[in-house]
């Protein structure tokens, strides 16, 4: 007998007490919890996102769509970045005002190559105001998961208000489980040493979020 059959057999014998007419999934699970916490205007939801991102030590900027290129150029200059990683589908206009060398995200570029890059600029799939979270789904303007992980500086552009939702339930509805997702709330952090929070162990130590719109 295979282990598969053995385990499934054990499970079935263990559940001999469960009646045939045990309630189905829809009836068994109460969903009395809230779809979002509190009621806010669109502008207040965006403000809450900014507040919660900052609370988790992300650096938050806000600008109008026509200012984005200059803001990005300034942030890369302040960081003294010599090279910036660019996902294949990133809007070219975003980097129009900077002359920092572009490094394309190619499938064949190894982890060591990514390690030599200073900064990465991406868009996002959705942002969650209540938790201060940005979610990347590997779309063309976000690139593979590794590009936002290995470089030490990540700039993420969120289009407001259309990419912002209030809550975790609302975010899950918008996301495709078939894609690899990365939920990011503030930069990498650890509290493993006497519970003192330290930013950055393995992921980018600096996360900058630009809310555009």
């Amino acid at each position: 007998m295979s282990s598969r059959e053995r385990i499934l057999g054990r499970v079935r014998r263990a559940l001999a007490d469960v009646p045939q007419d045990d309630p189905g999934y829809e009836d068994a699970v109460a969903r009395d919890y809230l779809r979002e916490h509190g009621s806010r205007s669109t502008e207040e939801t965006v403000a809450l996102l900014a507040e919660n991102l900052a609370d988790y030590r992300a650096v938050v900027h806000r600008c109008a769509a026509d200012e984005l290129a200059s803001v990005l150029a300034r942030l890369l200059a302040e960081r003294k970045a010599a090279a910036v990683l660019v996902p294949p589908g990133l809007d070219e206009a975003w980097l129009a005002e900077t002359d920092v060398a572009r490094v394309p995200d190619r499938a064949e570029s190894g982890a060591h190559e990514l390690d030599r890059v200073d900064s990465v600029v991406t868009a996002c799939a959705v942002a969650v105001a209540e938790t201060g979270t940005i979610v990347l789904d590997g779309g063309p303007d976000q690139g593979r998961r590794r590009i936002t992980l290995v470089p030490d500086h990540h700039i993420c552009v969120v289009r407001v208000p259309e990419q912002v939702v209030s809550s975790v339930p609302q975010a899950l509805e918008r996301l495709d489980p078939g894609r690899p997702l990365t939920w990011i709330s503030g930069p990498s952090a650890t509290s493993d040493i006497e519970l003192d929070r330290v930013e950055g162990v393995h992921g980018p130590r600096t996360l900058e979020v630009i809310l555009v719109g």
Partner: protein
């Protein structure tokens, strides 16, 4: 479970020694009180906590009650997404599968993201026996691994170490495992974290095989979820060419939507955050992004035996948040090592004796590692009634009875060492059913009360070692009642 803990003394002895360690007690007190207070604030932020908790409980209960169906569904959806599913009945089989998969890649080292399941089966030791080196990459796990130590907390495995000890471990051991610690390393957390970053980065960048667990598996979509803070999880899940995930069969949720409950309750209950810094989800493999090969090893190792116990099965709802550890007065003083298992604290006291059976001395003692104060049940985000299961397991240890071990029904003998307790209970039953004898006994006890010892002799000694014997009144209540007519007589009238 892991051989690491073979020969562990029973809980009372281990706890007694730990309580004498002043540094440990101070570290633990600071840590548990800090997390406890933060968690209460994080939970108070959401007005629907009670409803989220109830939903989480019901989702998990429903899944467990139909686990066979959801396991088959999960297998189908993971396979359809390009993953390969393996089934492991016990620790040995899981270790064999993982070692075999690593050997197939031709590699002799793996990077690991912290996982309770792989600790439970002793995977690192099993891989080492096959010539494969496993690098723990979570900062706390790294401290534990370099210190040749054992984890003592589910969430903060190195909670028992302070910064001075960590600096010393890094300076001494890092060179044995790879990049040495920087010269002149101080004990500030930022510098220590930086040393870990440099030490581990060289391993991440060359790693070809990653090993992980998972916090959740979605039956409907075949999606796996890992929740973390540091980014070492993302490194292990995305940089290697091969990813092997070892996950307990109880970690299933039926639908994608169910994650909306647990992604709200888990971070707030564990690290007391609105959301943990990183959550990764993956469904099979994705072309050009992440590992090309994905293996899922579904682990039983005592879970089906636990499932067979109608009272005890609720322990399988556990989402490993560790909130129960941080509120437990026993854990706070005894620390995690005293529990002799990778699952310490209240949840460990009910999970370990069910996964492993109560055959060993340490497992038979774990249901007693509690004051039954109920704080663990109050904080549990999936409402596991830990005190109820503790009492149930105590009854099993003392009385024996039918249990399931490795899928077979067996009848457990009463544990040794509880003979005096059973004799006392039998005597009590006899006396309570004979009013005359009870009255005579009580009178005798009252009249001789000045002669009573402060501790019990013989087999009762262990009981009175940690408790004061109750003081006896000068007159039994029954005599007083008869003499005063329940307080309405001449004497002893209530004023």
């Amino acid at each position: 479970m892991s051989g690491t803990f073979v020969g562990m003394p029973a809980f009372p002895k281990a706890a007694h020694e730990a309580v004498g360690n002043q540094t440990l007690r101070a570290n633990l007190r600071h840590a548990t009180h800090t997390i406890r207070a933060k968690r209460a604030n994080a939970v108070a932020e959401v007005s629907d906590w009670a409803e989220l908790r109830e939903a989480g409980k019901r989702i998990k209960d429903h899944t467990l009650r139909h686990l066979d169906r959801y396991l088959v569904q999960l297998e189908e959806s993971v396979t359809a997404a390009g993953g390969i599913v393996h089934w492991a009945a016990d620790a040995d089989e899981a270790n064999r599968i993982v070692a075999g998969l690593v050997k197939e890649t031709g590699e002799s080292e793996v990077v690991k993201v912290k996982s309770m399941a792989t600790q439970e089966i002793g995977l690192n030791e099993a891989l080492e026996a096959e010539g494969i080196r496993a690098y723990e990459t979570d900062l706390a796990e790294l401290i534990v691994q370099l210190g040749k130590d054992r984890p003592s907390h589910i969430l903060v495995p190195a909670i028992h170490r302070n910064r001075g000890e960590i600096r010393e471990i890094f300076a001494r051991e890092m060179s044995e495992w790879g990049r040495p610690a920087p010269e002149g390393l101080t004990d500030t957390p930022a510098e220590l974290a930086d040393a870990a970053r440099l030490h581990l980065r060289e391993k991440f960048l060359r790693a070809k095989v990653g090993v992980s667990g998972a916090n959740f598996m979605v039956a409907e979509t075949g999606t796996l979820v890992v929740v973390e803070s540091e980014g070492n999880g993302r490194m292990c899940l995305t940089l290697p060419e091969t990813l092997i995930s070892v996950v307990g069969i109880e970690k299933i949720v039926p639908t994608w939507r169910d994650l909306e409950v647990f992604l709200q309750t888990l971070p707030r209950s564990s690290t007391a955050e609105r959301m943990n810094p990183y959550t990764s989800t993956w469904t099979g493999t994705t072309d050009g992004d992440g590992p090309r090969t994905f293996h899922l090893v579904l682990l039983d190792n005592g879970r089906t035996d636990t499932l067979a116990d109608e009272v005890g099965r609720q322990a399988l709802r556990c989402i490993r948040c560790s909130a129960c550890l941080n509120v437990c007065p026993v854990y706070e003083r005894a620390g995690g090592h005293a529990y002799g298992s990778v699952y310490p604290g209240p949840i460990g006291a009910i999970l370990s004796p069910q996964l492993r059976g109560t055959g060993s001395e340490i497992d038979a003692s774990l249901p007693y590692a509690s004051s039954l104060c109920g704080a663990c049940y109050e904080v549990c985000p999936v409402a596991i009634d830990i005190p109820e299961v503790l009492v149930h397991l105590r009854e099993r240890v003392v009385q024996g009875g039918p249990v399931t071990r490795e899928g077979n029904k067996v009848v457990l003998k009463p544990a040794k060492g509880h003979g005096a307790e059973r004799a006392a209970m039998r005597a009590a039953r006899w006396a309570f059913s004979r009013p005359g004898a009870l009255r005579a006994g009580q009178r005798l006890a009252s009249r001789t009360r000045r002669l009573h010892p402060r501790t019990l002799p013989g087999p009762g000694k262990a009981w009175s070692a940690s408790r004061d014997l109750p003081a006896l009144p000068a007159e039994p209540f029954r005599d007083w009642w008869q003499r005063t007519n329940g307080g309405t007589g001449d004497e002893g009238t209530a004023k």
